[in-house]
Amino acid sequence: MKTQLMTAIQTSISEVMETMFFLPVEFGPEIPIAESGMDAKKLVCELAFKGDFSGNLILMAPETLVVEMAENFMGESLENLTPEHLDGTLTEMLNMVCGNALRKIEAKTPFELGIPKKIGSTLFETHVFTIVETTDSKMAILLTLDE
């Protein structure tokens, strides 16, 4: 099931990034985040979901990429963007990706999404993430399913 959901998540990331953020993406390797080369300040958010199976999706992106996404998403320039805009852009991206991906999964009961929330980036240095590459930057995603 994790493989099926991960495939749906990757499809959804492509759809959401191109439709709402005008950024085409390609998928890179699964590697520990410490080896990803994402050394700049990172923003991280997570979203829990429950249904036929439950879990969490975590999205990590350098602040520079989130600024580019926010500019594209809202049509605003950098000087008009606040930290709330940046956090909100990343959490909304995660919300759309997760909701879109779960719609692609056949389920007996509808999935329920939690509220996406910002979390600390230092918690995940040893975790293995899937790298998502944009033209000039990269982000990373981690899917965990409850036992």
Partner: protein, 141 residues
């Protein structure tokens, strides 16, 4: 024709995107009000006349479904059309919204055309001159 349109979403960027979409769709002369959840929206609706509500589902404090139920239970607000804009697009969830009185449903990610077409269906066509001439407004997503 201008309207009073209430956008209910806990995401500040999403409210901003929906506002820009509405302006580009010809509702630039309309009053565009915002609330971050159902409770805020209900408080605002006690003070302002609203022609249509666009609401998210998944919000803290009071979610979109709870909000619609309260709205539709009140004689003063039950006729106000409510459109749900949400990531959750499961057929049974959409049916639940419609059974509670929602006038329409749009899934995120959405296209500007989807929002415009549904609002036009509910409120009627707007004069093209009402559209905001804003070169920064990207209407092509």
């Amino acid at each position: 024709m201008s309207y009073s349109i209430l956008i209910v979403d806990d995401s500040l960027p999403m409210r901003s995107v929906i506002k820009k979409t509405l302006k580009a769709a010809g509702y630039g002369n309309s009053e565009l009000l915002e609330a971050a959840n159902g409770e805020e929206a209900l408080a605002l609706m006690k003070k302002s006349w609203i022609d249509i509500v666009l609401t998210d589902y998944n919000m803290p404090v009071m979610n979109g479904l709870e909000f619609i139920k309260v709205l539709k239970a009140d004689d003063l607000s039950k006729e106000i059309p409510v459109v749900v804009i949400s990531t959750e697009g499961d057929a049974s969830k959409i049916r639940e919204f419609m059974d509670c009185g929602a006038a329409g449903y749009i899934t995120k990610p959405f296209t500007a055309e989807a929002i415009r077409d549904l609002i036009v269906t509910i409120l009627g066509e707007v004069d093209y001159e009402d559209a905001v001439d804003d070169s920064d407004t990207d209407f092509d997503f």
